[in-house]
Symmetry: C3
Subunit: 149 residues, 3 copies
């Protein structure tokens, strides 16, 4: 993943950035935790809510264990078993399963920020969930601070 | 869907509206994007977060492709296959599957707003997910602006 | 569930608390609605958004019916059928299914607050979703008020 963050649109209360994510497999959970944390550090936000949003229809975002890489691999395999690529689908593009997986996963997540750090649990990481890769993708990060006077 | 928005409860930072949604099938994804966008236009909010909430237990809300209507149809069919109506359920009302689908889909979503527009991806639309219709339903929209001085 | 809330870190706009949840079964939906509502009452917040976050990787949070206890039981059973404990998993700890269920459920939810009350639907309750219990768990509650001048 390349962080590739653009100049922020700064307002009094929100900081926004777009992260670039390059995936290499059809179904792939990719850890983007450090790129998200970097946005918060660069913005100098001490306390607030970090809204994460995936503007795609065949991808999602989830928070799960990033200590053992077998965990994201197991999630990828389970998604592919629950929603097979070749089902009785109508959608003509051959990626109906990816749309269904996106809905099961969700495209928005919110994580709290305290003391300038994402308040993730000890074993948690943030994963971009590719379901129709490989592709070039985006994640939109919006930090709404509550430390503004 | 009829927009049927009530007078807003305005405060300094939030605008709230309740949208009415009328569904016509038992399992039905219904596109509510334009009704949500209309709330933002009417409220005159330039920048912020749009919180969407479904106050029901047999329905949900998702964001997915609204260009090809086969995509929502495929999601409906996949949900009905993964969680069959007649499973080994205890709940006496005969709609246990609808409750399970609501949890798999989720009842809250957040979308960012910039320049007075929902920051949806190019192919994304917002769908109310009916799992026990036809019914009269509601979606609560809360816009928290960050362009307030 | 024991509420066990710590002293709040108060700022101008946000109130945060950590709830303690003690689960007693491997897969268990536990109603935490009244503990969340208590945080809002104690904080004296009239209007805003309540962000709920589970800092674990084998648990989640959902909103569903809490009138008939058969509904959470049916959701537990459906999750265990869709994602069996003994699948073809790589993760060595024997709880890969619990990680997958956490992603299907999600770890963050947002609920609106008006007049000092969670704006849940008539039949809705907030459930902590244990997928690898019994354990001692936490839920982080962040109330972002919009009634601050």
């Amino acid at each position: 993943m390349s962080p590739g963050s653009q100049p922020a649109k700064e307002s009094r209360r929100a900081v926004t950035r777009t992260l670039r994510v390059k995936t290499s497999r059809r179904t792939e959970l990719q850890d983007i935790t450090s790129a998200v944390q970097r946005v918060i550090h660069e913005a100098g936000v001490a306390s607030g809510v970090c809204h994460l949003y995936v503007p795609h229809t065949t991808a999602g975002i989830t928070i799960n264990e990033n200590a053992d890489p077998d965990v994201p691999r197991d999630i990828e395999a389970a998604m592919d078993r629950m929603v097979p690529k070749d089902g009785p689908y109508k959608h003509f593009e051959g990626n109906a399963d990816a749309h269904i997986k996106a809905t099961l996963t969700g495209v928005s997540q919110s994580v709290q920020i305290e003391n300038g750090e994402l308040q993730l649990g000890r074993w948690q990481g943030i994963f971009f969930c590719e379901y129709d890769g490989p592709r070039q993708r985006e994640v939109r990060v919006r930090i709404v601070r509550d430390d503004v006077s």
